[in-house]
């Protein structure tokens, strides 16, 4: 560390080597699944890290099966709807927690904390039966409801941390300068709050996109099975085929949105995770 020492070339090289180690550690499993997805059937089992022959056939195959396309549509739909609802409800609650005095505030904060720590599998058994009785089992709503529930603590903590940092006095100043409350909100507060809301949406989306336990316990057909669950049941385009290449291709496809988020919004994701979790 740079305490009491000059930044020398030697130090830079040493840090550079450490950085390369970290990057390799983080990327190797990702590169490996990408590499598998481009291998031909004959070279799939050659054990080499890079494909000896490249092919796009695995991708062509999965997009020809209705199973994968259906799961992809389910994943996108369920994750987007859950994210929108969780962020809207979370924003309302977080605004109230950060800005207003009302009874039951501590109760809500405590309840969110409890749910954040809750073992999800403990809910699977009762939800399985309740949803079967209500006709929600194996539907989009049947997954959206638990996703919202577990995403809410995340969005309430992250957003209330963001909201506390907003200089709310600006709103008052704008009103003094003659703005209506609506104008003050739209021109002053909303632009300040938007990045926090957006960051929270990304974190919630990643959470919903990632879920596996609910996805395989509360679905039974392609009607609502998401890609992570579908992957684990994937048998390839015919039963007699080794699905390794196709599983890898499907895995790469569902990884793409996350990689895009990480590349473009790295700073915001870091800010969201750290402020929500520690300053919460």
């Amino acid at each position: 560390m740079a305490i009491g020492g000059a930044v020398t070339t030697g130090r830079k090289v040493r840090w550079g080597l450490v950085d390369i180690l970290v990057v390799a550690f983080a990327l190797i499993p990702v590169l490996w699944i990408i590499s598998l997805s481009f291998k031909t059937k004959d070279t799939l089992n050659d054990g080499s890290f890079w494909p000896q022959e490249w092919t796009l056939k695995n991708y062509a195959d999965i997009f020809q099966t209705s199973e994968f396309l259906r799961a992809l549509v389910n994943s996108i739909g369920i994750a987007v709807i859950s994210t929108v609802i969780a962020v809207v409800l979370g924003t309302m609650a977080a605004y109230a927690i950060a800005r207003l005095e009302f009874p039951g505030k501590q109760l809500l904060v405590g309840l969110s904390l409890l749910i954040a720590m809750f073992p999800q599998v403990s809910l699977v058994t009762p939800l399985f039966n309740i949803e079967r009785n209500l006709g929600l089992f194996d539907t989009w709503a049947g997954l959206i409801l638990p996703y919202i529930t577990f995403a809410l603590p995340l969005s309430i903590y992250t957003l209330s941390a963001f909201f506390r940092e907003i200089p709310w006095e600006l709103e008052k100043a704008a009103k003094m300068d003659g703005a209506t409350p609506a104008q003050a909100f739209r021109k002053v507060i909303a632009p300040l709050a938007a990045p926090g809301v957006f960051t929270t949406a990304i974190l919630v989306f990643i959470f919903c996109w990632n879920d596996f336990l609910f996805a395989i316990s509360l679905t039974s057909t392609t009607a609502s099975r998401t890609v992570p669950a579908a992957l684990s049941f994937f048998t390839g385009s015919s039963q007699f085929e080794d699905p390794t290449g196709q599983v890898s291709a499907a895995a790469v496809v569902i990884t793409i949105p996350i990689i895009i988020f990480v590349l473009f919004f790295q700073r915001r994701i870091v800010a969201g995770l750290t402020s929500g979790a520690v300053k919460g």
């Binding site: 499993p29 699944i33 609650a93 904390l113 809750f118 009762p126 039966n129 996350i258 520690v278």
Partner: protein, 303 residues
């Protein structure tokens, strides 16, 4: 909160504020209670019954017999031991690696943005995808690791190698998350304090243990608490890597198997309740024994 304290408060305004606060929180509150509260009560109720969906006619209230059956089952205790082992070992490794990664991300002189971006990728990757990557890597013939390291064996068909591969997958996936939480703690360490310690002749290690760790303690405990509870619910990795074979199943897997494969709601609920109780005990120990401040309980105090 405190922003409003300076203002003279009219009781009408105060009432309106309370009403607005309640209305804004009501939807979130209702969803959380409806999806967790009722099912928890229902789960406790189910756990006191013989209730197997394959034999619905035999449903009856049997008191604590399910608890007796689960708690005397060697399968349950094997799964419990496995889960505890995986939790303790992976969180310990994650903590050490996460602290190193946090220091690297915080201090590196070159490519800080690149390191921070790339280190986030494992956090974002779907756990099942990462698990498949490790699964294929350790599959004989297919995988680069199986061929180069395991010398002809099939590590995922043996208990101990499987457990270590599960830990490897878990550590890879969650170290960045741990590192980010710790980095937030590092940001709280005053630079002046480190400089002063360096002037007084403290070595790098002494600065780390005597200055940084004490200041970071709240952040460290929150990170450990959350990761421990998260690791205890391990499911995805095991499901893909071994599907619980060779005694590598966790309590979550066992509950899932009893429920979805066995359709035994009574036993499944009993396990669910036992897991819930275990998690509550772990959280209680962290908060009482280690003095973790529960996030959110000291509203505003830390600002």
């Amino acid at each position: 909160m405190s922003h409003r304290k300076g203002k003279p408060v009219l009781s009408e305004g105060k009432k309106a504020e309370r009403r607005l606060g309640l209305w804004l929180c009501a939807p979130a509150f209702i969803v959380m209670i409806a999806v967790t509260g009722y099912p928890i009560v229902y789960s406790i109720w189910l756990s006191l019954q013989r209730y197997d969906l394959r034999f619905p006619a035999q449903q009856e209230f049997i008191g604590f017999a399910n608890y007796g059956a689960v708690l005397t089952s060697s399968y349950w205790w094997t799964a419990f031991g496995t889960t505890m082992f995986l939790t303790v070992v992976s969180v310990a490794i994650e903590f050490v690696l996460g602290m190193a990664l946090a220091l690297i991300m915080h201090r590196t002189l070159v490519g800080r943005g690149l390191v921070r971006t790339v280190a986030l990728i494992p956090y974002g990757i779907v756990t099942v995808v990462a698990a498949f990557s490790w699964y294929f890597a350790w599959t004989p013939d297919t995988g680069y690791l199986a061929n180069s390291l395991a010398s002809g064996g099939a590590p995922l068909t043996e208990q101990w190698p499987s457990l270590f591969i599960i830990i490897l997958a878990e550590v890879w996936k969650t170290t960045p998350f741990m590192a980010l939480l710790l980095m937030a703690g590092l940001a709280l360490v005053p630079e002046d304090l480190l400089k002063a310690a360096a002037m007084d002749g403290a070595s790098a290690w002494q600065r780390f243990t005597k200055v940084m760790l004490p200041v970071m303690k709240p952040a460290i405990l929150v990170a450990l608490l959350f990761r421990t509870l998260d690791a205890f619910r391990i499911f995805d990795n095991i499901y893909v890597l071994t599907n619980g074979a060779q005694d590598t199943g966790s309590v979550s897997m066992m509950t899932y198997d009893n429920l979805v494969k066995g359709l035994n709601l009574g036993i499944g609920s009993t396990m669910a309740v036992l897991i819930f109780i275990t998690v509550a005990i772990i959280a209680f120990l962290f908060i009482k024994v280690f003095g973790t401040a529960a996030p959110g309980t000291d509203d505003g105090g830390k600002r």
